[in-house]
């Protein structure tokens, strides 16, 4: 996993609550057996018309939002399915952080495993961000600081272990594999309840 370094970017704002994973990436694109190539399908049904042409009024199709790395969205972002294709599509488009007042649990977990930082801000900060929807923000994970265009610094919460993994570019599986002796000991003490092969 790529190390998460501090950065500055203008925001793309989709001021809607409850943006579900079916909007982030519709299910018909989940037939792929690959992780890549999903960036073009991000927000597909909001982004393209029936002929597949970009809708000029959708924010991701505006020239000024190209290369923006931060998405500002409404409450409960990423609700719905467990598809990791959602953070894959967001990161392949170029996003590295999403700011909201809350995130759905599974989406948040999936994002943290893909170097996509979910940043939870309180409602007053969210309201300030919405007033300048294409404003520039700075994100520093090490100090857990979001700096608004106004210069206001806001601390955001992040799980200690996830933060460590993001900053160091550590993949969780490697960490779990190191604990093989504990897993073996647990298995010895807890005989299997089923055998799916039998």
């Amino acid at each position: 996993m790529e190390k998460f370094i501090p950065f500055e970017s203008r925001m793309v704002t989709i001021a809607r609550d409850n943006i579900d994973t079916d909007q982030i990436i519709p299910a018909r694109f989940l037939k792929t057996i690959s992780k890549v190539g999903l960036g073009d399908q991000l927000f597909c049904d909001w982004r393209y018309d029936a002929e597949g042409k970009p809708k000029p009024d959708f924010v991701l199709n505006k020239p000024e939002t190209k290369s923006c790395k931060v998405l500002l969205a409404g409450d409960n972002f990423g609700c719905g399915s467990s598809r990791e294709h959602a953070p894959w599509a967001l990161t392949q488009y170029g996003f590295r952080a999403v700011i909201s007042t809350s995130f759905a649990d599974i989406f948040k977990n999936n994002s943290l495993k893909n170097s996509l930082l979910p940043i939870v801000v309180p409602p007053d900060v969210h309201a300030e961000l919405l007033k300048d929807p294409s404003g520039t923000v700075k994100i520093d994970l090490a100090s857990q600081t979001l700096t608004l265009a106004s210069g206001r610094h806001v601390q955001f919460p992040v799980d200690e272990f996830a933060k460590h993994c993001l900053l160091e570019g550590i993949d969780e599986l490697g960490y779990i594999l190191q604990q093989a002796p504990a897993i073996t000991a647990f298995e010895s003490a807890h005989p299997a309840l089923i055998d799916t092969r039998g």
Partner: protein, 468 residues
């Protein structure tokens, strides 16, 4: 005396492998369910790292999501879907995992076959790369959806790094009235707490109304926990659970059964245990529920009116509702009852079990579906299909004018050929009404199998109680 614990805490405590400072706990997984859509990238990850599946004996695979529900002899028309389905079979073979593939008499929706085969058992931790894994909580298991990275973790190590969730008691007391079902309990809960109301929590469904539910009805309730934001929802095991499980293919037998039941009887929440949050629902006051909008929290009683955005003060909430009404092409303040529909879908991991089909058939028996409505009845598994056919339910559906299909996720997820056309309205027994969920531009009203069947006959949103 040790501190009183909830069933959620007990299952958690029984599965902690290791706890290190500055890291989440390592939690053991008793059952891992795998399907074609969220696993191929995980298996590729194992190959890249040169890893094996640690416990193929605790892992089971099937195909359901991108799997067509057309007659099994026919090839899969969609080449991309066909490749994905084939890849599941190949991955299962390469990694020594038992798979119930397309064509198997035990294939089906992963959340239907787990309980049906007796794989899901009380006290287990169950995971799957699918958010409706919560379904298995009906058996008294801690069951939750995971992403593909975590699928890879479980394949490789049988463990996950996890933090305990908070507990949310959903107490449903009283008796349901005729025409009101398990689906209406969960739709009513989500309408009350909203789709983010359970974020960070695990639901424990309890109370006399929950105790009175059959196992399959409990599965319907637990299934939609995620629609209330909770990754998991469960019901403590009781005699209903043991009667359901006893004799199933993978359930313990003989002396092992007795030992297991004795162990399972220790699972229910202790007297005096506390929850982080609670809500009470009066079952007797519930009515058949239906959703009008573009998330499952946008639900109303069947005779209720579509709410008005101008009554909402929060700007983003108001905007959500206004957008939903534009997408659904509905006017605020008007009832949904009587709204014309194009399609009825009876199926999905929420409502495709034999009791769901029996209920729908009891409404459709001797009646005809409205000629303007396309009605699809999709059993959750091939075993459900066989059972339904043995009972003659398929004939009732066909005689009524409904399409009787093979097992799969079908029109719940619209990635398998079964889908709405743009602008079409459905009454659907599935779990999500998000924009485009049942096909791009499609509009979904979520409801119970009874409401769906009644609406199929009338060709419009209907109150089943008029037919009872």
């Amino acid at each position: 005396m040790s501190k009183p614990r909830t069933i959620i805490e007990k299952i958690w405590d029984n599965h902690v492998v290791a706890e290190r400072a500055h890291a989440p706990a390592l939690l053991y997984v008793d059952l891992h369910l795998v399907h074609e859509v969220t696993s191929p990238q995980a298996f590729d990850g194992l190959r890249t790292r040169g890893l094996k599946v640690r416990r193929p004996d605790l892992t089971i695979a099937t195909t359901d999501h991108s799997t067509p529900t057309t007659p099994r002899g026919l090839p899969i028309v969609d080449k991309i879907a066909a490749a994905q389905v084939e890849r599941m079979v190949q991955n299962a073979k390469d990694f020594g995992i038992h798979c119930y593939p397309l064509g198997s008499d035990k294939q089906g929706i992963v959340h239907v076959i787990g309980p049906e085969l007796g794989l899901t058992q009380p006290g287990m931790t169950v995971v799957c790369g699918d958010s409706h894994t919560a379904t298995h909580g009906a058996m008294g298991a801690l069951a939750f959806g995971i992403g593909t990275s975590e699928v890879e973790h479980v394949l490789a190590t049988q463990c996950l790094l996890q933090k305990p969730s908070k507990s949310y008691q959903v107490l449903v007391d009283g008796a349901l009235k005729p025409g009101v079902s398990a689906k209406d309990i969960i739709l009513a809960l989500i309408a009350r707490i909203g789709i983010g109301g359970g974020t960070g929590f695990v639901f424990e469904f309890c109370g006399s109304a929950v105790r009175a539910l059959s196992m399959e009805e409990r599965m319907t309730v637990c299934n939609m926990s995620i629609e209330g934001g909770a990754r998991a929802g469960l019901v403590a095991p009781d005699d209903t659970t043991y009667q359901y499980l006893n004799g199933r293919q993978y359930a313990p037998q003989g002396a092992k059964w007795d030992e297991a039941v004795a162990r399972w009887r220790q699972l229910p929440t202790d007297d005096g245990a506390t929850y982080d949050k609670s809500i009470t629902i009066d079952a007797a006051s519930l009515e058949p529920m239906i959703t009008f909008g573009t998330n499952p929290g946008m639900g109303i009683p069947i005779r209720g009116a579509v709410p008005n955005p101008s009554d909402i003060t929060d700007p983003l909430e108001r905007d959500s509702l206004a957008r939903a009404l534009v997408y659904m092409d509905l006017a605020p303040g008007k009832p949904l009852l009587g709204h014309a529909i194009n399609v009825v879908f009876i199926g999905s991991c929420t409502n495709s079990r034999i009791s769901d089909l029996r209920t729908a058939a009891s409404v459709l028996k001797g009646r005809k579906v409205n000629p303007n409505v396309r009605v699809m009845v999709v059993p959750g598994s091939q075993q459900v299909k066989e059972q339904a056919q043995a009972e003659g339910l398929d004939k009732i559906f066909r005689d009524a004018g409904a399409d009787w299909r093979e097992a799969g996720c079908s029109m719940c997820i619209a990635m398998n050929g079964d889908q709405l056309q743009p602008g079409e309205y459905s009454v659907s027994t599935s779990n999500r009404n998000f924009e485009g969920r049942q096909g791009k531009g499609g509009r979904t009203f979520l409801a119970s199998p009874m409401t769906a069947a009644a609406s199929a006959i009338a060709g419009k949103v209907s109150d089943v109680r008029e037919l009872l």
